[in-house]
C-alpha cells in the first residue's frame, strides 16, 4: 500500500515553486503561524483549508509579502521562490508581487474603467510597447478571466459598475494580465453565486497550465474540485499537507478528519 502511493506520487511530482521553511508569523504578541514547512509545486493548484482564524490568509499573504504593509506583523523563517529567499534584504517586494499576483476575498476593482483596471499592471511594469499591444494584453487577460464576452462592449465603463461576480473575474483578469508565475487567491468565490463560482473554478483549472495557483477556501467541495494538493491549517500550524484525494479520503491526522467531516471549524 505504501509502495503504491510512493510510485503514484513520483509520477505526479513536479518542480517546487515555493518552499517555506520554519515560517513563523507574529502579530505583535500573537503567534499566528507556527513553524510551517510546505512545498508548493509549479503548475499545480494548492488549496489551503482550515477553520476561521487558523492563519490561512496570514500565510498566503507571506508568500507575496503583503504582510509588509501591516506594521505589527513580523515574519521569520525562509520562503524560497525558485530557490531565492523572498525575505532577503535585497528583494524589492514590488518586484516580487509582479511575479506573485494576488486576488482578494472581496472584489476590489479600481474605480476606473474596466480597460484601465486590467491595463494598470502591464502599464506600470512596461509590458506593452504600444497601444495595440496593450489592447491585446487586456483582451487576452479578460478572456482568461472568462469575462471578455460580457464586457467587450463597455471597456470604458467603470469596473465598479459590474456585479460582484463580474468584479471578481475582472480582478482575476487584472491579476493574470501582469503574467505572474504564482497566483494567490484568498477565498475568491466567497462573494459569488454558484454559476460565477463554477466559472471561476473552471478558470482556475485553466490557469494551472501556466501558473502555480494557491487558493484559500472554506468550501471542502471547492478544494476537492479544483486542487491537486491540499494543506490543512489548524490554530496556526500546518497539520497535514498532501494530495487532495488522500487528504479527503484518507487523512492521517485525526484533526484533519474531524474538520473535513465537520466536527471542528
Amino acid at each position: 500500500m505504501n509502495d503504491m502511493q510512493f510510485t503514484d506520487r513520483a509520477v505526479e511530482q513536479k518542480e517546487t515553486k515555493i518552499a517555506a521553511k520554519d515560517v513563523n508569523v507574529h502579530y505583535g504578541e500573537a503567534h499566528a503561524i507556527k513553524d510551517v514547512n510546505v512545498e508548493i509545486e509549479d503548475k499545480t493548484v494548492t488549496a489551503f483549508i482550515g477553520p476561521s482564524g487558523c492563519g490561512k490568509s496570514t500565510f498566503l499573504r507571506c508568500l507575496n509579502r503583503m504582510n509588509d504593509t501591516i506594521d505589527v506583523c513580523s515574519v521569520t523563517g525562509n520562503i524560497l521562490l525558485d530557490g531565492e529567499d523572498i525575505y532577503d534584504k535585497r528583494v524589492d517586494p514590488v518586484q516580487l508581487r509582479a511575479k506573485v499576483g494576488m486576488v482578494f476575498q472581496k472584489p476590489n476593482p479600481f474605480p476606473k474603467s474596466i480597460y484601465d483596471n486590467v491595463a494598470y499592471g502591464p502599464r506600470i511594469h512596461g509590458l506593452a510597447k504600444s497601444k495595440a499591444e496593450l489592447d491585446e494584453i487586456v483582451e487576452s487577460a479578460l478572456r482568461r478571466g472568462a469575462i471578455w464576452e460580457e464586457v467587450k462592449d463597455r471597456l470604458d465603463k467603470p469596473g465598479t459598475g459590474l456585479s460582484g461576480g463580474q468584479q471578481q473575474r475582472l480582478c482575476i483578469a487584472r491579476a493574470v494580465a501582469t503574467e505572474p508565475e504564482v497566483l494567490l487567491m484568498d477565498e475568491p468565490c466567497s462573494a459569488l453565486d454558484p454559476i460565477a463560482t463554477a466559472q471561476v473554478e473552471e478558470l482556475i483549472d485553466e490557469l494551472r497550465e501556466r501558473y502555480s495557483v494557491v487558493i484559500v477556501t472554506h468550501s471542502m467541495q471547492q478544494a476537492a474540485r479544483v486542487s491537486q494538493k491540499t494543506a490543512f491549517f489548524h490554530l496556526g500550524t500546518l497539520v497535514e499537507f498532501g494530495h487532495t484525494g488522500q487528504i479527503f479520503t484518507n487523512p492521517e491526522d485525526p484533526r484533519t478528519e474531524a474538520y473535513i467531516t465537520g466536527r471542528i471549524g
Partner: protein
C-alpha cells in the same frame, strides 16, 4: 405567559405610548432648535443687508468746470511742470465758480458764500480736478463736465442718516447747505447712484468717508490667499500623505499627530504674534506686507488642510491599496495613482474651507500691521501686491468700524456684505465639488 402575549395590536401598550411621546418631544426640541438657528440667521442677514447696502450707493454732484487758463497755466505754455506747481488750493476758485455758474443756470438764488457752496462737495473734489488737469493739460481753457463726490453729510442726508436736527452742533454742514442740497436734488444736479468705487477703490482718510473703498484691501486679501494656497496646499498634502501612508506608527508620529490637532485649536492671535516675532522682527520681512500675512495664515490653515486631507485619505478603502500593491505597484504608485485621486475631492473641499477661514481672519493681521489706512493705490505688479504694505478685507472692516464718523460705519457693513459674498461663494464651491466628485466604490 400566554396572558401577556394576548395583547391587541390595535391598543397601544403604556410602554409604546411613553416611547412615542418621548420621540414626539425630541422632534419638537429639534424643530425648536432649528427655528432658533434660522431666526438668528434671518436677523443677521436682514441686519447686515439693511445696514450695508447703503455703502454701495453714493451721492454725486455733476458740475461743468471751466478750466481757466488764468488760474492753471498763467504762462500759457502748457508746461506740465508749471501746471503741477498749482496746488489743490489753486483749484478751489474753479469749483466755486462752477458751483455758482450751476446755481445761476438753474436759477437758484442763495446768499451763501463760496466756501459754503464748496462745502457740499467732498474735500477730494479739488484733488480729482487737479489729477484730471495734470493728465489732460490740453483741456485747459475748456469747460469740462465732472462728477464729484458729495461730502459725507450730504450723502448721509440723502440716505436719511443725517437730519436737520442731528446737525445742530455739526461744523461740517449747516441747515442752509441742506436747503440748497434739497434744491439741487430737485434740479437733478445731486443724485444718488451705484458706486463702483466702493468695491474697486482704496481706503480714504478720516476726513473723506465718501471716497473710501474696499478694492485695494480685496487685492491684499487675494495676495494673501495666493500665498496660503501656494504654501499650505502642497505642504499640507505632502505632510498628510507621509503621515498617513508612509510614516511608521510609533510614539513619535503619535505625538506629531496630537500636536497637529492641537495646532488647529490654537487661537489665531497666537499665530499673529508668532508671525510678528519670526517673520518681521527676526527675518526682517516688510511690515504690513500681504506676504507676511499670507505666511501667518498659512500656519493657521495648515492644520485644517492636514486634518481634512488625512480624513479623506483614511476614507479611501484599504482594499484599493491592496489591489494596487497586489498587481505589483509600489507604495508610491498606489498612493499617487489610486489613493490620491480618490481623496482629491475631500482634499479640495478641506482646502477651500481652510482658505475661507483664513480669508475672514482679522486678529493676526492686526499684529503684523495690516490694518489702518495703508494703501491709497492698488498694487501694480504681483511682487508689489505681495510686498507693498496693504490691508485685507476683514482688517479694513475692523478699521472702518473703529473710526468715529458714522459714514464709515455704513462702509463697514458694506464691507461685511462683500466678505460674506466671498465666503458663501467659496463654501458653495466646496459643496458643489464634494457633490460632483463624490464616488462610491
Amino acid at each position: 405567559m400566554s396572558d401577556t402575549s394576548k395583547t391587541s395590536l390595535l391598543a397601544l401598550t403604556p410602554r409604546t405610548k411613553a416611547r412615542n411621546a418621548a420621540e414626539k418631544r425630541f422632534r419638537a426640541y429639534g424643530i425648536a432648535a432649528i427655528a432658533v438657528g434660522l431666526m438668528m440667521l434671518i436677523v443677521l442677514v436682514t441686519n447686515i443687508i439693511g445696514k450695508g447696502t447703503g455703502a454701495f450707493q453714493q451721492t454725486f454732484v455733476t458740475l461743468n468746470v471751466e478750466l481757466l487758463e488764468s488760474k492753471l497755466d498763467k504762462k500759457g505754455n502748457r508746461d506740465l511742470d508749471d501746471i503741477k506747481k498749482v496746488t489743490t488750493f489753486g483749484y478751489n476758485p474753479l469749483i466755486r465758480g462752477a458751483m455758482e455758474a450751476k446755481l445761476a443756470e438753474i436759477g437758484i438764488e442763495t446768499d451763501m458764500k463760496g466756501k459754503d457752496l464748496e462745502g457740499i462737495l467732498s474735500k477730494g473734489a479739488v484733488g480729482q480736478l487737479r489729477e484730471y488737469v495734470t493728465t489732460n493739460p490740453d483741456k485747459i481753457g475748456e469747460t469740462v463736465e465732472f462728477r464729484f463726490l458729495a461730502q459725507s453729510r450730504v450723502d448721509g442726508y440723502l440716505k436719511g442718516r443725517v437730519t436737520r436736527e442731528s446737525i445742530e452742533n455739526d461744523k461740517a454742514i449747516s441747515v442752509e447747505q441742506l436747503e440748497l442740497v434739497d434744491q439741487l436734488v430737485d434740479a437733478g444736479v445731486i443724485v444718488k447712484t451705484f458706486n463702483a468705487d466702493f468695491i474697486l477703490g482704496a481706503d480714504a482718510s478720516d476726513q473723506r468717508p465718501e471716497a473710501a473703498g474696499i478694492g485695494v484691501a480685496m487685492l491684499g486679501s487675494l495676495s494673501m490667499m495666493l500665498v496660503v494656497l501656494a504654501l499650505a496646499l502642497p505642504i499640507g498634502v505632502a505632510a498628510s500623505i507621509y503621515l498617513e501612508e508612509f510614516a511608521p506608527k510609533n510614539r513619535l508620529t503619535d505625538i506629531i499627530e496630537v500636536n497637529i490637532s492641537n495646532l488647529a485649536a490654537v487661537p489665531s492671535i497666537v499665530f499673529g504674534i508668532l508671525g510678528l516675532a519670526v517673520f518681521i522682527n527676526y527675518m526682517h520681512l516688510p511690515t504690513s506686507a500681504p506676504l507676511v500675512g499670507g505666511l501667518v495664515l498659512t500656519l493657521m490653515t495648515l492644520p485644517t488642510i492636514i486634518i481634512s486631507t488625512r480624513a479623506s485619505l483614511k476614507a479611501v478603502p484599504p482594499s484599493i491599496r491592496d489591489a494596487a500593491l497586489g498587481v505589483g505597484a509600489s507604495k508610491m504608485q498606489s498612493v499617487f495613482h489610486h489613493v490620491l485621486p480618490l481623496a482629491a475631492p475631500g482634499i479640495l473641499t478641506g482646502t477651500i474651507i481652510g482658505l475661507a477661514q483664513a480669508l475672514g481672519e482679522t486678529a493676526p493681521l492686526l499684529l503684523i500691521g495690516m490694518v489702518g489706512f495703508i494703501a491709497s493705490n492698488p498694487p501694480e505688479t504681483l511682487v508689489d501686491g505681495l510686498l507693498a504694505p496693504n490691508s485685507a478685507m476683514p482688517a479694513q472692516i475692523y478699521e472702518w468700524a473703529k473710526r468715529a464718523d458714522p459714514a464709515f460705519y455704513e462702509r463697514a457693513w458694506g464691507g461685511i456684505i462683500i466678505l460674506l459674498v466671498f465666503l458663501v461663494t467659496m463654501n458653495t464651491l466646496a459643496v458643489i465639488l464634494r457633490r460632483r466628485f463624490e464616488r462610491r466604490w
